[in-house]
Amino acid sequence: MKFRKSEILFFALRNTKLRIGVFIVALFAFLAIFGPYFAKYEPQDFAGPGYNPPSGEYWLGTTTFGRDVFSQFVYGLRSTFLVGFVGGSIATFIGLFVGFLSGYKGGLADELLMMFTNIVLVIPTMALLIILAAYLKYRGVFLESVFIGFTAWPWTARAVRSQTLSLKTREFVNLARITGMKPLKIIVVEILPNMLSYVFMVFILQFGGAILTAATLDFIGLGPTQGISLGLMMQQAVLWNAIQLGMWWWAVPPGIAITAIVGAMYFMNTGLDEVFNPKLREM
């Protein structure tokens, strides 16, 4: 195992895709964590005159109303990572739970759970989120993440189920059963550890997916009523014709950040795929 671990580490460290992905995500995460300490203004403060291009005083310029774009950007990054983490975690967790239960139990439980999964899968997520958003007067970033998490899990559940089905036929599961272990324990101590690499990749995908969904919601105006996010920034920039007015410093940074983070996540995912799956490795 020592060899196996170091082997995985060996391939992980020399995998270019993974290295690039981690570097980009880490860069933005660093900005999200420490950026606000460098920001001179609150994101919604009127910091000075509007229409200011980037300068020593306003690093990324100001908006039409004189808000500091850099402050908005770093606080927005924070909420973007929050959405990714909370939404991604919830979706991963529910997906794992349903997938494991359905795959391991089989029979009627499997049929019912998969029926439920398929129903959630075919409900247009966006429509559901629009309705929910319309009903709630006050919405925060956290609540938005929870919504996203609760609607993004079905694909994960289905994938985890099929993996569980194949692991279940391995003899060590039978051995655990004749050791008198309970189903839940077998799932947690025998099956789950075999899928950790997979779970990790699912989480990364869900993380990126949640960020993208949140940005879309914000952009069409169903984002948080309080706080700031990258999607909200883009929405306001478009609303106030930032592009037409040549205020690129307002519209471009949030777009680049979202694209870069989500892109880097997918990059990490393919990179990890190569690390964990020996068949895909480039020797």
């Binding site: 060899f3 082997e7 060996f10 020797m283």
Partner: protein, 320 residues
Amino acid sequence: MALKIKDLRIYYQTLRGDVKAVDGISFQVKDGEIMGLAGESGCGKSTLSNALILLKPPMKYISGEVFLNDKKLPIDNYEAMRANRFRGVSIIPQYAMNALNPIRKLKQIISDLLEHHGESFVKMRDMIEERLKLVELDEKVLDLYPIELSGGMNQRMVMVISTLLNPSLLLADEITSALDVSSQKAVSKMIVEFRDRKIVRSVIFVTHDISILYQVADSIMIMYTGKQVERAPTETIVKNPLHPYTKLLISSLPEVGIKYSQAPLKGIPGRPPELLNPPEGCRFKDRCPVASEKCDEEPPLVEIEPGHQVACWKVGAIDD
């Protein structure tokens, strides 16, 4: 001589170094001969047979020469081997039942393959049907998909396909291991039939099961950790083996008629050494009941009598 191999070395590349899976093997197979290749798992028997047809990473060619019908076989050149595959050397793989694309009609699979080798399905149709009859398959199967055939039928189909171009050398890689006794017998029959009808000139039958080889092979070569330890006519290997490893291997085989309560058999203690850094000298010395200091030096393969070679310093030293 149908096949002649000189000092062949094939290693496996791993992160920790080269695994010496085939380490200096030399032997010949005569025209019309079925040679059995036996040994424990990890002895290099499958590596050897695979290297003769499809040598690709992580397998690495180190040295040695292979001659097929007195012509050099470019096993270390993937591209140059292309012309030799199926025609010169062909293989029935270990998991033959899963070797065919399940959703393509057998007719199409065969005609693709033949076209690839510059032949035509239509012209060869009569011969194909004849061959199918030989393995007791109905010609109607040509219009079926592999998924519609049973595992045994698929395996036979693979046997027909891999011998269609009358290869000089047929490699059979553990083809009986996953089968029931009655199917083992049927498959063995087909291999012998292929040889008797001169469809193939010679066969290397790779298996761990010596009792099957006793039924079909003309001669048997025993491998141990990448080296050949003994080669002799079948009757000699089974009835009068000389190498201590062969002796122990043969004497550990349970047979109908042997009962634990009357005559318990014994296995071979210990396990084979790692092939990353195999020990100097005879590789069997740590498990060998008659090993001595002399065995720290590698024993050469010596011809004891015509057709019987042994690699042991102590040949003839132990008698049962």
